[in-house]
């Protein structure tokens, strides 16, 4: 049983890590604690449902549609909600992201109805048996895709010129402005990336369960993941996601299915008390 729980914990944790990575990219770039990240994941799942069931697009095109729609959603959120509030208190901006998630949920329920939708994709849904261990192909693909996305975005930030400008913007907005960086464009790009990563995570969550607004609660596990891993750390978000996935599965299997939230948020509280900058975050670097 241990290996089985370990596998599903890692697989789910990879998806949480992906959503958390998107959250961390937005937070690092624009200092916005985006409570709508869970709803962005739900939107991704519904965009996929729309593309596959309503528009009848082939799977590859449907994925592209979902990515484009999520990116647009992120950019619009930044232009119309975040940018006008530049310089306002963090609380005002947090309230706006909470409002955004409520509005998105209501919009989905009006448009698609409150009942869940089944996401039918050509992804394999079989099981690979290795001894006692049953490996769901879908879990495996979700995990591998998540890791591929994390690697691609990691390489993008580390090795490309635009990635460098995004890291510079995250380091300091005014410093980026005086250096000739188009800070607004970089911030929009960060919101697009954040929403796309959430959307891909939402696609897999919807595929593993059923597509409904209730997926938001799972998408929001990205928040404890990011805080545990370290708000300012990109690898921290991924590690935090994996930890949350593992904790959820182990607590669910060995203690009680209802205990997972208690254990996750208990760890969150512990981290905030003893190491508020998170496992991989660092305290403010450098001299003044």
């Amino acid at each position: 049983m241990f290996a089985q729980v370990l596998f599903s914990g890692l697989a789910l944790g990879s998806i949480y890590g992906l959503v958390a990575l998107g959250f961390a990219v937005v937070f690092k770039a624009t200092d916005v604690f985006n409570f709508a990240q869970g709803m962005f994941a739900v939107c991704g799942a519904y965009f996929a449902v729309t593309a596959i069931s309503a528009l009848d697009l082939p799977f590859g095109l449907a994925i592209l549609f979902m990515i484009a729609a999520c990116a647009t959603l992120g950019v619009l959120a930044h232009i119309f909600l975040i940018q006008p509030l530049a310089g306002r208190s963090m609380l005002a901006i947090i309230m706006v992201t909470i409002a955004l998630s409520i509005v998105l949920r209501a919009g989905i329920e009006i448009f698609y109805g409150p009942q869940g939708r089944v996401l039918t994709t050509p992804l394999p849904s079989g099981v690979i048996r290795i001894g006692d261990l049953r490996i769901s192909q879908l879990h495996l693909i979700a995990a591998l895709t998540s890791w591929a996305c994390m690697a691609i975005f990691g390489a993008f930030f580390r090795f490309t010129s635009v990635g460098l400008l995004m890291r510079a913007t995250a380091d300091g907005h005014e410093a980026a402005l005086v250096s000739g960086v188009n800070v607004n464009a970089m911030n929009r790009l960060a919101w697009a990336i954040g929403a796309v990563l959430a959307g891909i995570g939402g696609l897999f969550l919807g595929q593993l369960q059923i597509v409904s607004p209730e997926l938001e609660a799972i998408g929001l596990l990205a928040l404890p993941a990011v805080v545990i891993g370290g708000m300012q750390s990109i690898p921290g978000a991924i590690i935090g996601g994996l930890l949350v996935g593992l904790i959820a599965q182990f607590a669910g299997s060995y203690i009680s299915p209802k205990s997972t939230d208690i254990v996750i948020y208990g760890l969150l509280l512990l981290i905030l008390m003893v190491r508020p900058w998170g496992l991989l975050g660092q305290r403010e670097l450098g001299r003044v």
Binding site: L164, R167, A168, L177, S179, G180, V181, N182, V183
Partner: protein, 255 residues
């Protein structure tokens, strides 16, 4: 306006939200290839003027109430900072504002991003030739460097695009006088190499007046005095106020 002028500030008034005017009808010109010093006490409006020129007022909730900033013949009031930099302006800001978590070389590469990719290595080489210390430290996180090295980095990041106009705000802040002198020597080389014009904000008036050809003195948002640097240095008003020879104890004298 003359072809020989790279920057002209014309009757500029600037205000910040819920405060009075920070600049009141300020005019100033920087000749092409010239070095101009901008002097004044704390709070006189020097940094506000630099922000109005580089386009950073928005970021500080300030705005131009009237007048204009003309760069290379073109009114740039409405242009965001990144577009002004692409026109050939660059800034070494007050407090340096380097990217603390990036390496020295990455800091410079951010400044080089306005260049076509084939020219970025040349830009790096040119900056490393001016400030060899930056080359030694290129892999280091910028936040861990000394104040002098950070100042060199801020200048290098501004210079890597070979700007036509370099704005330098409070270069000497917190640095040893000897180091400040050597950095100014490098700036002289920059003008010879790149032909850049410069507008220098400096607390140390004596130093700035020795370096610049022309000077303006700001006093509470207005230009109080301007002219050739030597004449400004000789004026009793500036000596009393900023060179610190003898502080006149009459607070109401300017009012």
């Amino acid at each position: 306006m003359s072809h020989d002028t790279i920057l002209s500030v014309e009757n500029l008034s600037v205000g910040y939200a819920r405060k009075g005017l920070a600049l009141d009808d300020v005019s100033l010109t920087v000749p092409r290839g010239g070095i101009v010093a901008l002097l004044g006490a704390n709070g006189a409006g020097k940094t506000t003027l630099i922000r109005a020129i580089s386009g950073l007022l928005d970021h500080h909730h300030g705005r131009i109430e009237s007048g204009q900033v003309r760069f290379d013949g073109r009114v740039v009031n409405a242009l965001p900072p990144h577009k002004r930099i692409r026109l050939g302006m660059a800034q070494s800001p007050e407090g340096r504002l380097i990217f603390k978590n990036l390496t020295v070389e990455d800091n410079l590469l951010v400044g080089a991003a306005i260049l076509p990719s084939a020219k970025r290595q040349d830009g790096l080489d040119a900056v490393y030739a001016l400030f060899p210390r930056l080359k030694e430290r290129r892999g280091q996180s910028a936040g861990w460097m000394s104040g002098g090295e950070q100042q060199m980095l801020a200048l290098g990041r501004a210079l890597i695009g070979r700007p036509q106009l370099l704005l330098v705000d409070e270069l000497s802040l917190g640095l040893a006088p000897l180091l400040v002198r050597s950095i100014y020597e490098e700036l002289k080389k920059v003008r010879e190499l790149f032909g850049s014009s410069m507008l220098i904000v400096e607390q140390n008036a004596k130093l700035a007046l020795g370096f610049a050809e022309q000077a303006y003195v700001l006093d509470r948002g207005r230009i109080a005095l301007s002219g050739f640097a030597a004449d400004v240095a000789a004026s009793t008003a500036i000596r009393d106020s900023y060179l610190g020879t003898e502080r006149v104890g009459n607070e109401g004298a300017h009012a």
